[in-house]
């Protein structure tokens, strides 16, 4: 692997850590532990546009593992994995849609992230009642996705110089 790539990976993971820490400080009025707004998606989408889908997936998994072991526990990691995988799938597919910019891809990533988490939560608790949280979470994913899309575009353009 090129040393530049290694350095980029390292930098993005460090950024993911900071974002995850910030996320933990922000309290969300939804009583589901492990449910995150999905700020760390910024790192995944940057990797997606800078390096490619495979690299973005690897980065996402590493991020979830490291952040999970540092800040959370095994059960909260399950939600992160579900959110991360669904988010990645949607973003990779969305990227193929002509006319959809990074912001649109990020929106789907943000929404997918939250939907994935709720889906797993419903499975874990064995109850469909959690579906009532879905509208609020989708809105949160939409907002976060939009912000991250704009930030991501800035990040990618500034990092492209170094590649």
């Amino acid at each position: 692997m090129k040393s530049r790539n290694v350095a980029t990976y390292g930098m993005l993971i460090a950024l993911a850590f900071i974002l995850s820490y910030i996320e933990r400080i922000i309290t969300i009025p939804i009583p589901i532990p492990g449910i995150k707004v999905g700020l760390a998606n910024l790192v995944v989408i940057t990797a997606l546009y800078l390096m490619g889908p495979k690299q973005a997936f690897v980065l996402s998994m590493i991020r979830i593992l490291l952040v999970g072991f540092t800040f959370g526990n095994l059960s909260t990691m399950l939600f992160s994995f579900a959110g991360g995988i669904l988010s990645w799938i949607l973003m990779v597919l969305a990227r193929k849609i002509q006319g959809l910019s990074m912001t649109g891809v990020s929106i789907l990533g943000g929404v997918g992230h939250n939907v994935g988490q709720i889906a797993v939560a419903m499975f874990v608790v064995n109850s469909t009642t959690l579906i009532y949280y879905l509208p609020v979470l989708i809105l949160a994913g939409l907002v976060a996705g939009t912000v991250i899309g704009i930030l991501g575009a800035l990040l990618v353009s500034s990092l492209k110089h170094m590649h």
Binding site: P31, I32, P33, G34, N73, S75, I97, G99, L100, S101, M102, T103, G104, I107, L108, V111, A121, V124, V125, N126, S127, T129, L130, Y132, L134, P135, V136, I138, L139, L142, T146, G149, I150, A153
Partner: protein, 122 residues
């Protein structure tokens, strides 16, 4: 950078989600009973018009205390790591729920028999 398709996507998602929120908000009905499920199995069903305090405990010592008072349901105490369930506001509308994910305990408000009879009688 934002393109037209992004805005369309955002608008579609926004409208669907907002409609859902509005629908849920405006069809809020007072609940009739609180159903406590543990690991997906119904543990106990309590009518909202009777004050009560129930403790749900499992073999590992995980417990949750659910209180019904004046028609409102709250999780007053729990020994889970995040106690988000305890911080949750009180619930009393149909379909509202308090979830303790680590303990897999769910308290859901449902209509209850009385309300169903009213609906049929109408």
């Amino acid at each position: 950078m934002i393109k037209k398709k992004d805005l369309i996507l955002a608008a579609v998602i926004l409208i669907i989600a907002l409609l859902a929120v509005i629908m849920i908000t405006f069809t809020k009905v007072e609940g009739g009973e609180a159903v406590i499920t543990v690991h997906g199995k119904i543990y106990k069903t309590l009518p909202l018009n009777e004050d009560d305090i129930v403790t749900v405990e499992d073999e590992s010592g995980h417990y949750n205390v659910i209180e019904i008072k004046d028609g409102n349901v709250t999780m007053t105490e729990a020994n889970c790591p995040d106690i988000l369930c305890v911080k949750h506001r009180s619930i009393h509308y149909n379909h509202e729920s308090i979830v303790c994910l680590p303990h897999k305990v769910v308290v859901e408000i449902q209509a209850g028999e009385e309300n169903n009879i009213d609906a049929i009688a109408k």
